[in-house]
Symmetry: C2
Subunit: 346 residues, 2 copies
Amino acid sequence: MATMHDVARLAQVSVSTVSYVLTGTRPISQATRNKVLAAMAELDYQPNAMARGLASRRSRILGLLMPMDERGLGATETAFVTGAAAAASAAGYHLVLSPVGGGDPGDLRRLASQRMLDGVVLMEVQLADERVTVLQEAGVPLVLIGRTGDASTLSYVDIDFDQTVREAVAHLVGLGHRQIVYVNHSAATLASGYGPALRTRDAFAAAMTGHGLDPVMIAAEDSAAGGRAALAAAFARAPELTAVLAMNESAIFGILGELSGRGLSVPDDVSVVSMVTSPQVAELATPALTAMTSPGSALGRIAIEALTRHLDDPGDHRHQQLLPCALEIRGSTAAPRRRQPMGADQ
Amino acid sequence: MATMHDVARLAQVSVSTVSYVLTGTRPISQATRNKVLAAMAELDYQPNAMARGLASRRSRILGLLMPMDERGLGATETAFVTGAAAAASAAGYHLVLSPVGGGDPGDLRRLASQRMLDGVVLMEVQLADERVTVLQEAGVPLVLIGRTGDASTLSYVDIDFDQTVREAVAHLVGLGHRQIVYVNHSAATLASGYGPALRTRDAFAAAMTGHGLDPVMIAAEDSAAGGRAALAAAFARAPELTAVLAMNESAIFGILGELSGRGLSVPDDVSVVSMVTSPQVAELATPALTAMTSPGSALGRIAIEALTRHLDDPGDHRHQQLLPCALEIRGSTAAPRRRQPMGADQ
DNA sequence: ATGAAAGCGCTAACAG
DNA sequence: CTGTTAGCGCTTTCAT
């Protein structure tokens, strides 16, 4: 393994010169730069990351902390990761994914205090997230995906749930639907302070009220069975429902299954819109689902860019940005079928 | 940020003593160890990972290289990652996931040559995988998940596809099925040398032949549409089929959709078994799928254990191990319905 | 535009 | 059982 000294000797310059052609922190004449580059190539030189990190006090490694639960990573999260990785690489950083469970904050504290990460992007942030505290105390620059309850002083990028819900509701109302049920995550998830669930809940209530409609909302366990149960509950609460808006990738198939089990067809009898859903998942269903597609890879890219910008210029301030999901119309939405002859119910 | 010197001064010992209580590489009296530990606690000391790595020439970081494609990580892969992370942590290593695409081997070469990874676990290994060559040339210890074509000199842990297919076929044959179609990954995937697709293909042919049956095999694109097309092809090739064995999580929903589209019920008309499938995905379908569940977390744990064992004792040799998937019977398999009255076709 | 040299914080001989 | 000290390979003043 060639070291910088070897390169310097072969190129007949000092080690500092070699270092400077590498970092570009001071002008080097074209002639000597070429000599050095040639020597590096000849020796197949690779700088030692540890030595560089020790001397410069910057590892050039960024951490992406993601809670890995049993359900796995959906296409949405994956797009996020690949977007982040590409941005990091473009900025000259390595991105390492750390599957630190929300379980042990000590683990995280250790990682952060060992100066092995220059900065961190936090995924799946809770409204009250102790990881944020831990990292701030350790003095690690961080960017959130999602927001804590009071994120006013933090950098974050998040989905614009308000706008997303409004657009989804507008699509359904535009088709003529009046009885729309929102299927959210579970009551336990709501209670735990999961931001997306809470924000969409409020946004749905506001959007429906804005249209002069009654917002019916149901919580569903994250499973097919949960979806089935939720749909049953939905019909109990709103027998005339003609559309379901759901934000629960695990429950959506249960909802569809229960619908067809009741002899109801999508979209003729009931329209379905799935929120924060990847095209891949949307295409799994028959018919393919009209969905609000999350801006996964853009979120990842923007988060990393904000972080590296701050790292390379500490004067750079907090970055706060919301991105809406995009409405992609597929086969699961249509105008409602008239259940009863016009005026018959009067 | 307290350093080792600070700890040594406070504890009134030398830095080396502090270092040795940390590494445990030489005996320390209980008395001084306590002094040192107390000083560490008081200063909230955390060793600097870079300095330690530079001096010891070991980063204590393990890399898990996983290609992240658009489809995302299934529950299977996630279980694998969490199993690996737990094992690494137990062995005193950090595990970083690196989403290096198969795209740029230069990227990987750089990572490896910078001595930032003590060892590497490679996921989704192809039969001919240049990443293996790159890492071997860089002298990075590695363990494969999956196998290259000639893996005789390498360490690996993989699914026992032969055994898994045999068990799945035995289950169906045991129920009375004779016309079983195997839906594999796409022809392109086969051609690219994707081990699991090739090994299961051969295993299926062998298993069916062993039962005196005709092995009908169909390739399917990794999508719902691919699954639908595959099922159509299957009926064209084997009109009397009563069971489908599939190893394609993306196509399976298309297969089920097409089945119900043709008015065929599962499992009464056609039984379905999904291979290398997580319980989570199996439960998404209606009825829930009988599946061969992959030993995800065990694979991850064993791979990391083999790697750390080798790192801590270079004398330790290559580790090669196969683990079968477990048959989990759910609602998608049953005895075939008699299509024609007994003896009527003679 | 270049060189010399002092660390960065830790490990691991080498000495007792 | 403990202390002294020479690096690990690089960055970054300070000189010139």
